[in-house]
Symmetry: C2
């Protein structure tokens, strides 16, 4: 199995100015090719440390993919140093220079002269076209080893990887690895792992638990000669896990709960509307992260104040007064209200305390009620994270509101 | 200056299952202490590679902070291996075991026996209490070097770092580093860098450009004996940059445009309401990411379909028919509509094509109109990213709608 190392370059990463999402993208993609990523390394725009890191990585791995530091400014040194370490000379390419000039031409702006630095390419190497920026990617092969250099911005790097790098490294793709994920909600990672303890000892397929933002997941990974064979190894293990974990399981592989819910809504030709207080747009944002969600989602109301809850959603003044905005009663009326005014098949709602502080009524941060309203059906769920992490509380409660939709549709169909 | 290396442990990171946000958090925090982070390294839950990585890191750095692999399952080996490499023996702590049992008790669930693994601590080391989970953090010092081991989940790691690790590593904090960021919108990174080319040569303070989701930023970093001195070195450089870049600059240091806009709204006691099509909740989500935003934000409408744009926002049927939903005219009517029905001081709107596909009218993905409506003021802006990246298009257009608010309030005040 070919071994790969990802080398990120950029002082802005070491300073914490930017989040390194490239390594995650590349790791996920390389796993699909059956290429083992054994290390991620990040160094700054520093010639010595970059030289040392590139040299060590090329020494121990079959493939090194370096990202970042191909920009037009003086601190961008990845091209020069990595090519030198791998023994490739840089030469000026008039045709690349022309491509860069015409990129600026299309945008209607003048090319800064410094951008010409990006027209240097390794003699004997391969150039990957950049459709979303000016720095081309570079590929080199020598003595069975392979070096790929890609621009740092994710929207330049990712399309370039898919279009040009996958064919370039194809010869390293080994065997077939198939991986599936069983996704659960409302059960903790260690409780889940205990129920599946014997499976975690498996060698092929392997079963590994992990936790992620209010969810517990199990990844099943099989290695085989053919894809079909690997799939056949995974299938019974997944069935077994589903039987053990029952209704905690919300989906297999589906990227997340919003993807699962949009798929269920589409299959059943149902529409949804949302009414949110503390999540404030997070649910429609996540529903519409899924391309094509417009066929199931029409209207969402973010009703942050009590006055707007009454005026827009028709929540009763007496309900707000008696039970407070953060209550199952208010959540249920919000869900019913948004369903009524939107004409959607399903209304869901969220109201609670995202934190970091608790509210004046003394209810704690992380206490959030979610509800669903549909024809002849209404239900609520209580989220109590016990945390004062605003993003976490908002994410988890949005997930749990979506989970109510999943349970409703599954029951209705079952 | 003390040198630090961050070592992330977890096969799930190398497989791309999870995004490594811990390194960013730690890097940002360590920079504030004047501790130089020179490398990030990630290895999987593999004894040999973890041993090698920990040993190399401890050899070349003053401080090593390892995160992840402290969980209750068998593949969690960070505690055992890192302590051994650094020469600390693990002993069972009955009091930590008791703390873990009572954590489960508070949650009302039984402790899985495997969790007792987390009660082993290094003899002669320091234990950091975990307020959000069961695995305590561990700190060890020997021969001038320091090893810190923290749990992987960010919501456990981050509060533990702030409360316990900062005092533990205080003796390594060197000199004072002050850093400021000038944030711009609507100018490219290389155009910005060219305007500031001479400043990028500075040695102290340094000036470094970078790009991020539709924005171009300049980081100014000064090192000095005292904070006051470092601030005095930064101030004239920031003034100079602001003068050169003028209205492109939307803020200094403020984490992002939503933070800047919420601050401006609060200062001026103005309220805002939002009407969104393609961003679908992203703007209220981002506004309410800022704690305390409830004083400036009451109501947001996500009007995904044309019918809802007419019914809820009062966009004229003739406007939608003549110009289409993706047009300056529709954007302006949406902004005016939401302001009217909400009673807010400012209404903003977004309508466009997030992609990845273009719409039936032949308008391209990435073409998005944003508009603002206020007393005696209305304006729109055209976003043309030329990309079919849905998340990018949604993020950037939400930012540009917020930028209209910034420009309006600054003009009004000026």
């Amino acid at each position: 199995m070919a071994i790969c190392e990802i080398l990120s370059v950029g002082t802005e990463i070491l300073l914490g100015d930017i989040l390194n999402t490239n390594t995650r993208f590349l790791s996920e993609e390389l796993a699909k090719l059956g290429i083992s990523v054994l290390r991620h390394t990040t160094v700054g725009d520093n010639p010595e440390r970059l030289r040392e890191a590139a040299s060590t990585a090329l020494g121990r791995s079959d493939i090194v993919i370096a990202t970042g530091g191909l920009g037009p400014t003086a601190d961008d040194i990845t091209r020069e140093i990595c090519c030198k370490v791998f023994g490739f000379e840089l030469i000026f390419s008039e045709s690349i220079a022309e491509t860069i000039r015409s990129y600026f031409g299309r945008k209607g702006t003048d090319m800064p002269e410094t951008n010409l630095k990006q027209a240097y390419i390794p003699a004997g190497g391969t150039v990957f076209e950049n459709e979303n920026g000016t720095a081309p990617g570079l590929g080199m092969k020598k003595d069975g080893k392979c070096l790929v250099i890609l621009p740092g911005p994710p929207y330049e790097m990712a399309p370039m990887y898919k279009k040009s790098v996958v064919p370039f490294i194809k010869e390293y793709a080994g065997g077939i690895i198939v991986s599936h994920t069983v996704r659960t909600m409302k059960i903790g990672e260690s409780a889940m792992a205990e129920i599946c303890a014997d499976l975690l000892e498996n060698e092929n397929p392997t079963v590994a638990p992990y936790a992620k933002m209010g969810e517990a997941l199990l990844r099943i990974t099989a290695k085989a000669e053919t894809e079909d064979e690997a799939e056949k190894m995974c299938a019974p293990v997944i069935e077994d896990i589903k039987n053990r974990l029952g209704n905690f399981v919300y989906g297999i592989d589906s990227e997340n709960i919003e993807g699962r819910v949009v798929a269920l809504l589409k299959e059943n030709r149902l529409s949804i509307a949302t009414a949110e207080s503390c999540t404030a747009g997070y649910i429609p944002k996540r529903i519409t992260d899924i391309p094509g969600a417009s066929s199931v989602f029409e209207y969402g109301a973010v009703t942050y104040s009590n006055a707007v809850k009454e005026k827009v959603l028709g929540v009763r003044h007496s309900t707000l007064e008696k039970f407070g905005a953060v209550s199952p009663e208010t959540a249920l009326e919000m869900a019913a209200g948004i369903r009524k005014i939107s004409g959607a098949d399903i209304g869901i709602s969220v109201t609670g305390i995202a934190g970091p502080d608790s509210d004046e009524s003394g209810k704690p941060a992380g206490l959030i009620y979610v509800a669903i309203d549909a024809e002849g059906y209404s239900e609520y769920d209580t989220v109590e994270t016990g945390r004062n992490d605003r993003e976490y509380n908002r994410y988890v409660s949005a997930s749990r509101a979506l989970n109510l939709v999943r349970i409703y549709i599954e029951q209705k169909r079952g």
